[in-house]
C-alpha cells in the first residue's frame, strides 16, 4: 500500500483509537469520580461513628474520674485523715481499685496525703497545682461546686483533674482531687484500622494516635477530617476530637476503579485498533484499486477494468472509472481503426488479412505462453494486437505507384519501401501511450539473421512481438491469393517457414505459428476474446468490446 493509502489507514485507525480512548477515559473519569465521592462519603460516616464511640470513651473516662472523686469524698467524710503512712497506704488501696493516676487530699492550701500510680509510667509531675495557682478553680471549689479542669505538665502533657470540697466532722473543709493523665492511646480501641485521631485541648497541639500521624497529604487524596466537641471543662477548656481518615483509604478504594478503568481503556483501544484497521482497509481497498487503475491508464494500460464489488458510492465511483477507461480505450481503438482502414485502402489488403494477422499473432503468442517460452500481460497482448493491426501503417506514406508497382523497384523506390517501418512507428508513436507498439512496428521487417530492415537487428535484439508479426505476415502472404501470386498449400507454407527458420524467422516462433495454425485447422480456437479480435471489434464485425478479466 503506498504512502497515500498508509496515511489514510493510519488516520482512520487513529481516529477510531482516539474516540475509544476518549470515551473510555471519560467514562472511567466519571466512574472514578463517583467511586471517590462514595468512598469519601463512606469514610465520613465511619469517622462520624468512630467519633461518637471515641468521644463516648473520653466522657466515660471523665465520668469515672468524677465517680472516684465522689467515692473518696464520701469515704473521707467518715474516716479522718492526717497524712500518716497509714493514710497514704489507705489512699493507695483506694487508688488500686480505680483507674485514675493520682489521688490527693488537701486541707485548705496544704496537701495532707496523696497516692499516685508511678510504676506504669505515671509522672510525679501530675501533682496538682493547687488553689493559689488556679483562682478560677479555687472560686468554683469554694462555692461548693465539683470542678473539672485541665493541668499541663512542664513537658507539655495534659492531665484531667476533678476536685470537690468535703466536709468532715470536726475538721476544716477538705478537698479531694483525682487526676487522670490524658493518653492518646485511649483512643486506640475505638479506632478502626487506618483511622487516626487527635484529642484537642483548647488551643494546644493535639494528642495524636497512632503516634506520628501526619494527615498532611494535599489534594483529592487528603484524608477526610471530622471534628467533634466532647466536653467543655470548668476552666473553659474545650476538649474536642479530630478524626483523620486513612491517608491511603480513598486511594485504596480508588485503586480497583482505576485499574478497571485502565483495563476498559486498554481493551477499548485494542478493539478500536483492530476494528478501525479492518474498517479502514475495507474502505480503502476500492480507493486503492482506483488509484492504481488511474496510474495504469496514465502509463498507457488502456485495457484496465476494475472489479465492482460494492453497491455504495465507492462502487458507483468504480463503475464510472470503468466507463471512463472504456471511453479512452474506444477513442484509441477508433484511431487505430481509422489507420487500419487507410492501410487497407492503400495497399489492397483486405480487412481479413489484418484480422488474420492479428488473430494468428495472438494465437502464436498463446502457444509460446503455453510452452513456457514467453509470458505476456494483458496490456502486452493488447500492444501486440495493436502492432499486428498497424504493422504496415507506414505504407500510408508510400506512393500508390510504388506500393502497387508490378515490376522491379528502383533504388529510390526500394529505399522508400524500406523506410515504411520507421514511418509507421512514428505515426503510432505520436498517438501516445503506444510507444511499445511503435517499437514493435519499427522492427516488424527485421530478419532473425540480421538481413532485415530498417536497422538490420538480429536474434534477440528484435522484439519477440515483431518476430511473431513478421512470421505471421509472411505465412498469411503465402497462403492467401495475392495480385501477383496464388495461394500456396499449408504444407508448402510450413516448409517455406521452416526453410527460413533461423534466417528470416525465429525458429521458435515458426514452430509456435505452425502449431497455432494446425490447431486452428483442427477447429481449436486459440486466442481468447480478451486477447484477440480487437480489429474485428473495432471494424464492426462484432459489437462488443473485448472484456478484461477482473
Amino acid at each position: 500500500m503506498n504512502r497515500f493509502g498508509s496515511s489514510l489507514l493510519h488516520q482512520l485507525t487513529f481516529s477510531h483509537a482516539l474516540v475509544a480512548v476518549v470515551l473510555s477515559l471519560g467514562f472511567g473519569a466519571i466512574v472514578v469520580g463517583v467511586v471517590w465521592a462514595r468512598a469519601r462519603a463512606l469514610e465520613q460516616r465511619v469517622l462520624e461513628s468512630t467519633g461518637s464511640v471515641a468521644s463516648g470513651q473520653l466522657l466515660q473516662r471523665l465520668r469515672r474520674l468524677e465517680e472516684t472523686r465522689d467515692g473518696l469524698a464520701r469515704a473521707l467524710a467518715a474516716r479522718p485523715i492526717s497524712g500518716t503512712v497509714a493514710d497514704t497506704l489507705w489512699l493507695h488501696e483506694v487508688l488500686s481499685y480505680t483507674d485514675v493516676d493520682r489521688l490527693e487530699v488537701f486541707s485548705g492550701l496544704s496537701r495532707l496525703a496523696e497516692a499516685y500510680d508511678l510504676l506504669p509510667g505515671g509522672s510525679p509531675d501530675l501533682a496538682t497545682q493547687w488553689l493559689p495557682n488556679n483562682p478560677q478553680v479555687a472560686a468554683l471549689l469554694q462555692s461548693g461546686k465539683a470542678v473539672n479542669w485541665l493541668q499541663w505538665l512542664p513537658g507539655g502533657e495534659p492531665s484531667l483533674k476533678s476536685a470537690r470540697q468535703v466536709w468532715a466532722a470536726g475538721t476544716a473543709p477538705l478537698y479531694v482531687v483525682a487526676t487522670l493523665a490524658l493518653h492518646p492511646s485511649w483512643l486506640a480501641p475505638s479506632l478502626p484500622s487506618g483511622v487516626g485521631a487527635s484529642i484537642l485541648l483548647g488551643d494546644r497541639p493535639g494528642l495524636s494516635w497512632p503516634p506520628h500521624i501526619s494527615g498532611k497529604k494535599p489534594g483529592v487524596f487528603a484524608p477526610t477530617r471530622l471534628s467533634r466537641t466532647v466536653v467543655r471543662l470548668d476552666d473553659d477548656t474545650v476538649v474536642s476530637l479530630e478524626l483523620l481518615g486513612s491517608e491511603s483509604s480513598v486511594a485504596d478504594v480508588l485503586a480497583p476503579a482505576v485499574r478497571a478503568g485502565a483495563l476498559v481503556a486498554i481493551v477499548s483501544l485494542a478493539l478500536a485498533l483492530m476494528l478501525g484497521q479492518t474498517l479502514a482497509r475495507r474502505l480503502l481497498s476500492p480507493l486503492q484499486d482506483l488509484l492504481e487503475g488511474t496510474a495504469a491508464i496514465a502509463r498507457g494500460h488502456l485495457t484496465v477494468r476494475l472489479p465492482v464489488r460494492r453497491h455504495d458510492e465507492l462502487g458507483f465511483l468504480t463503475r464510472e472509472f470503468n466507463r471512463m477507461a472504456d471511453e479512452i480505450r474506444a477513442t484509441y481503438l477508433g484511431v487505430i481503426s481509422t489507420l487500419a482502414e487507410v492501410v487497407e485502402a492503400k495497399s489492397h489488403y483486405t480487412r481479413e488479412h489484418i484480422e488474420r494477422v492479428e488473430r494468428l499473432a495472438m494465437a502464436t503468442a498463446q502457444v509460446l505462453e503455453e510452452r513456457g517460452w514467453a509470458k505476456w500481460s494483458s496490456h502486452q497482448k493488447f500492444i501486440l494486437s495493436v502492432a499486428a493491426i498497424l504493422h504496415d501503417v507506414g505504407k500510408i506514406a508510400i506512393g500508390n505507384d510504388i506500393l502497387n508497382k508490378p515490376g522491379p523497384l528502383s533504388s529510390s523506390e526500394r529505399h522508400e519501401i524500406l523506410s515504411h517501418p520507421d514511418v509507421g512507428a512514428n505515426i503510432v508513436e505520436r498517438m501516445g501511450k503506444l510507444e511499445r507498439a511503435a517499437e514493435i512496428i519499427r522492427a516488424c521487417h527485421e530478419h532473425f539473421d540480421g538481413s532485415g530492415y530498417p536497422r538490420g537487428l538480429k536474434g534477440e535484439e528484435i522484439p519477440l512481438e515483431a518476430r511473431i508479426i513478421l512470421a505471421v505476415d509472411a505465412f498469411d502472404a503465402m497462403t492467401q491469393v495475392r495480385p501477383y501470386s496464388k495461394a500456396r498449400p499449408l504444407e508448402e507454407a510450413f516448409a517455406e517457414l521452416r526453410a527460413e527458420a533461423g534466417r528470416q524467422f525465429d525458429p521458435v516462433v515458426v514452430e509456435a505459428l505452425i502449431e497455432a495454425v494446425e490447431r486452428e485447422a483442427h477447429g481449436q480456437r486459440l486466442a481468447s476474446r480478451d486477447s484477440s479480435g480487437y480489429y474485428r471489434s473495432i471494424s464492426g464485425d462484432s459489437g462488443d468490446v473485448p472484456a478484461v478479466a477482473s
Partner: protein
C-alpha cells in the same frame, strides 16, 4: 488493471498485531495485579502507655523492612494478656493477636496448649549469636526454643544515701537502722517468690522450689520483721497488691530508706531527682550467704493461629536484634537481651541502667511460674501471719 496480483501483507497489519499483543500483555499484567491490602500484625503486651508509644514508634521504622505490613501494639493489663495469650488454640480466633510479649515462665504452659510457634532453626542460629546465654536459656523449654528474648528484669537494692551513707550489708541492718520518725526502713514486694526466696532461704538452707520452701521463706521473713517497730506497716507495705506503687511513692518522698525494685523505677527517681544509690541484693542477715538474684526474661511469642507466621517470626526476630533491642530497652528502662550489652555505648551512657546490667552478670533465671504449686503456697503463707488491725478500716466499702 487487467493484472490481478495478490497484495503482500502490509507492515501496518503487523504493527497492528504487535500493538494488540502489547495491549493484551498489559491487560494480563493489570489482571494479575493483586488487590489484597498489606497485612496488619497485632502485638499484645502489658506495657505502660509511654513504653507502648516507644515500641510503636520503633515498629513504624521497622515496618518497611517487613515488606508491605503494619504492626499495631495493643497494651493490655497482665491479667488480660494472660487470658488472651493462654487461650487454647481452638479459642484463639476470639482473642486476635499475632505476637505477644510474655514472661518466659509462661512458655512451658503456652507450648503445652499449642498456643505458640517454635522458633525456626535458621532464626535460632541468629539468636544464638546475638542474644545472651541467660536470655536464650529462658526461652528454651526441653531443648526447644519457643520464643524470642525481648527484655530482662532483675531486682536490685535502691537505698537513700541520706540514711545509708554506705551500702547496707544486710536486710537486717536496714531494718535495724535508726531512721527519722515517719521513715520506714525497707520496701519489699513479697508477691513474687522468685525475688523473695533467694533473700530468705539462704540462712535456712531450704531448697528453692521444694515443697516446704514457701513456709520456710515465710518464717524467715517473719523472723526478720519480728523485731521491727513498724512491722505491721511493713507487712502491709510488702504484701498489699498495691505495695509496689506505695513503696515507690514513699521512697520518692523520702519516707522509705531502701527499696528492692527493678530498673523501671529509674525513670521515676531521676525525674523526681530523688537521691538514690543502687546495690546488689544484700543477704538477709550479717554473715549470711548473699542471695542469687533471679532475673525475669520477657519474650516475644508468635501465635500458632497467626495468619502470617513468617512475617510475625521475622518481626519477633527483628525486635530481638542487638541494635534495635538495645534502643527499645534503654528507652523503656529495661535491660536488653543482647549478649554484648555491656559493651554498648548506649548502655554505658546510662550509668544506673548499667549497674543493673552488672547485677545481671551474677543472676540466675527465675524458675517459678505463677501457676506452680509453690507460688500458690507462698501466697497463702504471706496472707496468714499478720492481719490488718481493726483500726485500719478497709477503703473498699468507702470507694465502692
Amino acid at each position: 488493471m487487467g493484472e490481478q496480483t495478490s497484495r503482500p501483507r502490509s507492515p501496518n497489519l503487523r504493527a497492528s498485531c504487535g500493538l494488540n499483543l502489547v495491549a493484551l500483555a498489559a491487560l494480563s499484567a493489570l489482571g494479575c495485579q493483586g488487590s489484597e491490602r498489606a497485612p496488619t500484625l497485632s502485638l499484645l503486651a502489658a506495657l505502660p502507655e509511654r513504653d507502648v508509644e516507644v515500641l510503636q514508634a520503633e515498629l513504624e521504622t521497622l515496618a518497611p523492612a517487613l515488606g508491605p505490613a503494619s504492626v499495631r501494639v495493643q497494651a493490655v493489663p497482665v491479667k488480660v494478656l494472660e487470658e488472651s495469650v493462654g487461650a487454647l488454640a481452638s479459642q484463639g480466633a476470639s482473642s486476635r493477636w499475632d505476637v505477644a510479649i510474655v514472661p518466659s515462665t509462661w512458655l512451658g504452659r503456652l507450648h503445652q496448649r499449642q498456643a505458640i510457634l517454635e522458633v525456626p532453626a535458621y532464626q535460632l542460629r541468629r539468636l544464638q549469636t546475638s542474644v545472651s546465654p541467660l536470655a536464650l536459656l529462658a526461652v528454651t523449654v526441653e531443648g526447644t526454643a519457643l520464643a524470642y528474648p525481648f527484655s530482662v528484669d532483675v531486682p536490685a537494692l535502691f537505698y537513700n544515701p541520706r540514711y545509708f551513707p554506705q551500702s547496707p550489708a544486710s536486710l537486717a541492718e536496714i531494718l535495724a537502722a535508726h531512721l527519722p520518725a515517719g521513715v520506714l526502713p525497707l520496701g519489699l514486694d513479697l508477691h513474687d517468690p522468685n525475688q523473695v526466696f533467694p533473700l530468705f532461704l539462704a540462712p535456712t538452707g531450704a531448697k528453692f522450689g521444694a515443697t516446704k520452701t514457701a513456709e520456710d521463706a515465710a518464717y524467715a521473713c517473719m523472723r526478720l520483721l519480728g523485731s521491727g517497730p513498724d512491722r505491721l506497716f511493713l507487712w502491709r507495705l510488702w504484701t498489699e497488691p498495691f505495695a509496689g506503687k506505695a513503696q515507690a511513692q514513699f521512697f520518692a518522698e523520702g519516707r522509705l530508706a531502701a527499696l528492692v525494685g527493678g530498673p523501671q523505677l529509674l525513670r521515676l527517681f531521676e525525674t523526681l531527682k530523688v537521691p538514690y544509690a543502687i546495690a546488689s541484693l544484700p543477704p538477709s542477715c550479717s554473715g549470711c550467704e548473699p542471695p542469687r538474684t533471679q532475673a525475669r526474661v520477657a519474650a516475644l511469642v508468635v501465635n500458632s493461629l497467626c495468619p502470617y507466621p513468617d512475617l510475625a517470626q521475622r518481626l519477633a526476630l527483628a525486635l530481638a536484634s542487638p541494635e534495635r533491642n538495645l534502643k527499645i530497652n534503654v528507652a523503656t528502662n529495661t535491660l536488653p537481651v543482647v549478649g554484648s550489652a555491656e559493651e554498648s555505648q548506649i548502655l554505658a551512657a546510662n550509668p544506673s541502667l548499667f549497674r543493673f546490667q552488672r547485677v545481671l552478670d551474677t543472676a540466675t533465671l527465675a524458675p517459678l511460674d505463677e501457676a506452680s504449686e509453690v507460688w500458690e503456697k507462698w501466697e497463702r503463707a504471706i496472707s496468714a501471719p499478720l492481719a490488718p488491725t481493726a483500726a485500719e478500716s478497709s477503703p473498699r466499702r468507702a470507694s465502692s
